[in-house]
Chain length 190, copies 2
């Protein structure tokens, strides 16, 4: 159950067995059926989630009721409203399982505790957020540089597993285009 998340953490910091123990006791496993919400929507997120098995989408709903996919997280990825750790940020993000999914939930106050008790975790989450920042910045840049057709091609190359598993409409939303247009691209490009 915890092997994957410990491997993930080990890419950034080295933990003693005791520290691993302290970490995993903060993690709450949860199984969520396909298309169900990981967390109750409509309130500021109080958890981060590590995807052990399955796939999760993070999205917002705008004033017109349209959903915008901000992230797609298969096994081995973290997701959740990182921003609710920023004072003043009140984004309401929803997390939905796109397949039958197992996640490990980490309460944000437990995260803070881990960071205070073991500064290593401060480092781990710094690197996690840096990486998230990098990915978001690259997507902004890609959006300014390439047409939707190119962005889709790059997406397929970069996440070969995902574009098979995830519904077209979610990929379209993630790329910032309409499902109709992506459908058209898909057929004309083959």
């Amino acid at each position: 159950m915890y092997a994957a998340v410990l491997t993930n953490v080990a890419q950034s910091i080295v933990l003693t067995p005791a520290e691993e123990e302290a970490f995993t006791t903060c993690l709450v496993p949860k199984h969520v059926a396909r298309l169900d919400a990981i967390l109750p929507a409509g309130r500021p997120a109080r958890y981060l989630a590590f995807v052990v098995q399955g796939c999760v989408r993070t999205y917002t709903t705008d004033a017109k009721g349209k959903e915008h996919v901000l992230a797609l997280a298969p096994e081995g990825w973290w997701c959740g409203n990182f921003t609710s750790l920023v004072p003043g940020a009140r984004e309401l993000l929803a997390l939905q399982a796109l397949e039958d999914t197992t996640v490990l939930l980490l309460r944000l106050d437990h995260l803070e505790q881990l960071c205070v008790q073991m500064p290593k975790f401060e480092r781990f989450f710094r690197l996690l957020f840096q990486n998230g920042y990098l990915l978001a910045q690259r997507r902004l840049e890609a959006r300014a540089t390439y047409t939707a057709a190119v962005r889709y091609a790059r997406f397929c190359r970069q996440y070969p597993q995902l574009h098979q598993r995830v519904a077209l409409k979610h990929i379209a939303s993630f790329l910032g285009i309409t499902p109709e247009f992506l459908s058209m691209l898909r057929t004309k490009q083959l």
Copy 2:
């Protein structure tokens, strides 16, 4: 010279006078004339910069030679290639002064040292990157939700100082549109 940056840091962590001293000795002041580069371009960034006075733009140059503005940083903001701290990331970002500008440079290896010696700094930079991530995510969302006209209006409201000080073409690039189109928006909206 250091008052502004200490105020900035104090928003996230509390430093003793000794720690303030250790921090500021890592910072190298640099004055850069309008339109000059803050750092030599074309190589992976080895510094973060805190803007004491003036204004800095962070940008990339794509395969076709087009520049894309990723960030605009007036007084009190950090800028630089945060991503060069992420293993494997080899983004080449350039920093340019848009006005006569004073920055405080922090070498990335000094940053690492500060974090190791004083875990407080690990926390400070975690919060800094979290905030950067939040802003990048909001821009992605805005790009998907609003037309260029609305994004420009929001930009003007959010950064009233900037849209007076910064050349139209840089604002256009930051918003992800052409200068011609922004010029048109500007006149038709008044």
